[in-house]
Subunit: 423 residues, 2 copies
């Protein structure tokens, strides 16, 4: 038996990389990328592939009422809460091969190393693949982790339908039947993990720009969505003097100038995006009657989101270029700060391999957002090319992937040490 701390160093990078490529064949697109919509045949085949990998390592496979799949490696004391690692196997319609799967395959690599190195540990270690993180087929996403963490009502999840009218609950039943037929054990209830760790591609450009393979993630930004409607008056573009215009475009333009100015008064962590913009009647020589646009506002700090929300509402009570404005709040998710001690541990392991690694706040959602409500949670990011994801061109350098999985193994190593048993 090797000494305990060698776990990260002895991890077989070649096998890990081969697993990552192997899973990419399930639902592969030509010439690259993959398509595994939640609970479709490919997504279910990916579950079975994962279960096979786990069994070959002597792990027992479990599934729950939401189709989440767990591989369990027992320690000396099966009564202890498991250390949970994982992410998701489902994808966007035209996706890359790393989003989600990197974290699941990384967990598998840790299990394999524990077994290959015959590491002695008391606490069970589990690897999870959460159901429907993407929300691409059934909206909203993060179904499996939200249910597991008690954050979402199962009824609401089961009644969602895809574009073809298929009910989530019906697709789930087929998946559960398949899992039940593959020597996999149903767990009646969720449990509270000892801690949850999720490795994921950054889906942003920061690490690549800094030449850094991996880093710790200290939390997830909160998001406020809005739809803004500006009501003006359609009129002839040639005959209407400036003073008589109620131009919905110019109203929207002036309002957005002020919203942007309010937003940039905060730190550089604010994200302010106008992704949709439409006008009626939409004619070159007609002053627009109305304009409608969306705002995606993000920040790691709820107090900043609240302040900006109040400023946005105040601005939208005023007239802009003579136009009245309605601000319609949409979906909103509060920011999450991960467990500080766990983030610090992850950071020390990440900087062991990547000395200048920053701590990032995730701009995208992950299953970790829900797990953070029930147990100490943290994430690691892996650098990806140009921040591209949700596209077949998504790309991760093998060396970066390997460094990040070693950093994850190093965190596991620390958490399984007897002295760290009570995080």
């Amino acid at each position: 038996m090797n000494s305990f701390p060698s776990l990260a160093e002895s991890l077989n990078g070649e096998h890990f990389w081969a697993d990552l490529q192997a899973q990419a064949e399930i639902g592969a697109l030509s010439p690259r990328g993959l398509r595994r919509l939640a609970l479709d045949d490919n997504d279910n085949r990916a579950r079975l592939w994962l279960i096979e990998q786990g069994k070959s390592l002597g792990c027992r496979a479990y599934y729950d009422a939401m189709g989440n799949v767990f591989l369990r490696k027992e320690g000396r004391d099966s009564s202890q809460a498991p250390l949970l690692l994982g992410s998701h196997l489902d994808s966007q319609p035209e996706a890359g091969i790393y989003d989600g799967t990197l974290g699941v395959v990384a967990g598998l690599a840790v299990l394999r190393t524990l077994k290959e190195q015959s590491v002695e540990h008391a606490r069970p270690v589990e690897v999870v693949a959460w159901t429907n993180e993407e929300g691409a087929r059934f909206a909203p996403g993060t179904s499996g982790s939200a249910w597991f963490s008690g954050q979402r009502d199962p009824e609401a999840i089961l009644e969602a339908r895809d574009d073809a009218g298929t009910r989530f609950g019906d697709a789930l039943d087929s998946c559960l039947a398949l899992l039940g037929a593959h020597d996999t054990t149903l767990r009646a209830e969720p449990y509270v993990p000892h801690a949850y760790l999720e490795l994921h591609i950054e889906q942003g450009p920061v690490l690549e720009a800094q030449g850094i393979a991996a880093c710790a993630v200290s939390g997830i930004q909160g998001v406020n969505w809005y739809t803004v409607e500006v009501q003006g008056q359609a009129n002839h573009a040639g005959t209407t003097p400036e003073a008589d215009r109620r131009d919905a475009f110019m109203g929207a333009h002036a309002l957005i100038t002020e919203l942007k100015s309010a937003v940039t008064q905060y730190d550089d962590q604010v994200r302010f995006t106008i992704g949709k913009f439409a006008m009626e009647p939409g004619s070159t020589n007609t002053i627009p009657q109305s304009a409608r646009f969306t705002i995606d506002l993000r920040h790691p700090d709820q107090t900043v989101l609240d302040k900006l929300d109040s400023v946005f509402h105040q601005f939208c009570e005023w007239k802009w270029s003579g136009c009245s404005v309605s601000l319609l709040p949409g979906s909103r998710v509060a920011p999450v700060a991960f467990d500080p001690s766990l983030v610090e541990l992850v950071n020390s392991c990440a900087t062991h391999y990547c000395p200048r690694a920053p701590q990032l706040v995730s701009g995208a959602f992950h299953d970790a957002i829900h797990l953070a409500k029930v147990c100490p949670t943290a994430m690691l990011f892996t650098s990806c090319r140009a921040g591209v994801s949700h596209h077949p061109d998504e790309h991760v350098e093998r060396a970066d992937a390997e460094l990040s999985v070693r950093a994850l193994a190093k965190v596991v190593e620390q958490l399984l040490l007897p002295t760290k048993a009570n995080l």
Copy 2:
């Protein structure tokens, strides 16, 4: 016989108003408005109605190769170039009853008064209804007047097609056959009028706001159309830091701020309208890849349009929020200044009835834009409610219509006086 200068005062306002309401039954919409698309059955019936009215006044009716209809009242000297009055009878798909027809029916009222008062005059007076001013069925509009004034190639006009695929030339052939069968004489060639006068609703809010019935029009604004394309980079709204964004919306927003600032450095006669605005991919949580918008820029002075054109091109060579920009010039029409002496005469007649009447520059196109190239031309505007046109709600007060037609008659009076014969 009444004395010559009584023409304007003796004009029968009741008959004029009854004619205006009578023509509105041709192609009437419920509960109000009308639909007479160029060369459709209703538009042709309106031509026949006009011809009947002219014949009842003893006028001879002519038509030309473009379907323009002329009513001619002879004077003592049929060799003199006619004084031409008129506008158009065709309409937008859901139109009011005054746009165009007001000017034709006003001309008819002048012919009737000349006859009723047995006015002696040397110069022939003609009233014209131009074909396809609106361009609603066959684009572009002002076909009849552009051809008559030698400003547009007949082949280009004849080959235009409507949405149903019907060729302008084929629809025109049916119209010409109908006119030929109604004791109307074909004129082989256009002629050069002594002068052209067009009375039209303002289609803008200025006169109504000032409580003025009618005014002289000194010219028509020039128009430059542009399409602007802003090319950015699509990216995740949450994960992409400000510094890494090439946000096509924010690029467009910054550019438009500067364009608007350049435009407002000029006088209050500039009109700057962004009527269409679209983005790709158009997703709330995706930074826009591209934005595309139109500009409708108008001014009465070509040198101002040229200066702004040069500024626009310069701005669009720069990067905006890291995005590159393309400026695609579209249709452009040079401003027209009407004949100063004729405008002065029209102004003196308008202010006779409306003492505080301004002189306006037309923001919309009219057939007069082409006539101005071949003969002294001027227009009168009649106040219309809230500037609304191209809509069944278009409305003109009877008192305003009557004052404006009297002002037109007063101009005719002056032009037919022997001392004014050589304008």
